[in-house]
Amino acid sequence: MAYSFPVEVLEHIFSFIDSDNDRNAVSLVCKSWYEIERWCRRKIFIGNCYAVTPRIMIRRFPELRSVSLKGKPHFADFNLVPEGWGGYVDPWVLAMGRAYPFLEELRLKRMVVSDEALEMVSKSFKNFKVLVLSSCEGFTTDGLASIAANCRNLRELDLRESDVEDLGGNWLSCFPESCTSLVSLNISCLGSDWSLQSLSALERLVGRSPNLRRLRLNRAVPLDKLANLLRRAPQLVELGTGTFSSELRPDVFSNLSGAFSGCKELKALSGFWDAVPSHLPAVYTICSGLTSLNLSDANIQSSDLVKLISECQNLQRLWVFDYIEDSGLEALAESCKNLQELRVFPSDPYAMEPNVTLTEQGLVAVSEGCPKLESVLYFCRQFTNNALFTIAKNRPNLTRFRLCIIEPRTPDYITLEPLDAGFGAIVQNCKELRRLSLSGLLTDRVFEHIGTHAKKLEMLSIAFAGDSDLGLYHVLSGCKSLRKLEIRDCPFGDKALLANAAKLETMRSLWMSSCLVSFEACKLLGQKMPRLNVEVIDERGPPDSRPESYPVEKLYIYRSVAGPRLDMPAFVWTMDEELALRLS
């Protein structure tokens, strides 16, 4: 249109637009807006690294400063994705090293990262500031040493839950003395044996980082070092302690207590490995300011947990082991009226009998007492439809509800019925629900409820549920907002999948393992839908060595503009035209 603003004005206006969705909308208005927008986009999030190629990204967005990539599907967290499946960041780093000399931020999740890639990152981007490696693997402390040594302006180094091979070598001392820019350091996933030299390198680093706000230590950092670190960083907002046990000496305790009381800005606490209950009061002075408490690495029992939690009146987030028990959750419901997120993890997930008294009662109590509760992850061994009705009625504001009843196919323990009605109540009442994980005994009926009511649901996880294809059909045809669907051990097969093939292009991905989808259906889907990558993952050997009607072991379907990937291991096949021709 002839009446549009000059490019510079539009660019300036667009610079205030941050969210990806808004940016995407802007780029669809007209060709000139598309052009202007793509030149001034600075941040991109790619939810599936195989949906697009580095070349396509660079071609469209030549001036990015921040790139986020996710690799393996979520079920990789539970060892369902075989080693070597993919998710390599190296080709991305190689391409970005050439195209984006001004890149500042790289955030990766579930990707395989090599030391070479880390070295390349450290040398290619002069103004590199933020490296977040979440649940990544494939690198060692040598790679970290390159980052430490070469990134002059590093602000964030966050290795959360990554699998890092510790080769010793004291990589922390590779941070030059001139590096004072650190704001966030998360090394909690690193090993538990460190030399004294590494510990003192850490102390010096913390001491010369006046902007350090987030520090998460690993288990190797002993309790008697913690006080020193805290005194050097009283401005901390988030702290993950190292090991929280030592011989109980009054001077260690009072030193620690004093150090904690000096940290007046602390809002989040985690760590507490091997925590000895008698040491916990050392943190009491800062508890009233805490909004986030993560005790899921600590073996603390119910009564000590309750004492600690009751000091934290302003808690918004609590992660804890099921040692808290129903009684502890009732106390939580009394003390913490601002609670928004609760995660209860199983202390002994493989035990046949429950080792603690944690039942549906605990969650019901929290749903009653905490009006702002919106996010739940709860592992337990029994549940009832009534409890689910109550929770749904109490908390229509739930946005994330993940319930894991440990034994597959467990019915309502009082009525012995499936939990269809209970979960049905959840999806019906909680209209803003975006994420749901199901468990217990479930028939196709629960999927009918989900398809009918869960209109804002974006991610659904299903295991050991359903009776037939009808279940899958309800989900695929009903859940308008569905982006990620992951299914294991359900009797879902070809028909529902083929009848809803078009739906799959509106989603990021679908994972199905130990289901009943035949190789034949996979081939058909791959042929009919060129913009889907249909990956068959089967460690039993080539799928054409078995009858076509046999179910495949695992199936991963995702939309992509990149075409089939070229880095697949021997046990992954992409179903496409070529393959179909080759096998026919």
């Binding site: 079920f75 369902l80 199983p346 046949m352 051990d489 028909k495 009848a499 009858p547």
Partner: protein
Amino acid sequence: MSTRGVEAEIITELRLGLPGNSSSGEKNEKKKKRVFDEMVNDEGNSSCSGNERKNENTEKMNKAQVVGWPPVCSYRKKLIQRDNTMYVKISMDGAPFLRKIDLGNHKGYPELALAFEKLFDCHGIREALKDADNSEYIPIYEDKDGDWMLVGDVPWE
């Protein structure tokens, strides 16, 4: 309205019987169901010592050993197994402090030697372990009888 029509279509195409019901379903479908049932419903033994985690088609699959269930992150699983802690004291001549190490965290002598090297920031322990005759130092430990023993004779387990 149109959904119901398609739904009706689906119903006529699918078998909605209980699993295991033989009807007009093809032989292959039945076979699929059986394999599936075997994979998941097997009674198996209740002991947790079974190590058949990877092989989903084994008959004797322990219920508690279903791969990836319950859905606890592998990162978190490592932490849960901490009850096997076996802390032992390590001293190195010339070092001012002793250190403690958790034997449960290591899977064998070479890993242990690496851990020693990291703790004391020194090299040569791994070589000493491999080839005792040619190196200057040897790693030794004091057993419960108070005798000094050469590291490596007793099998790791």
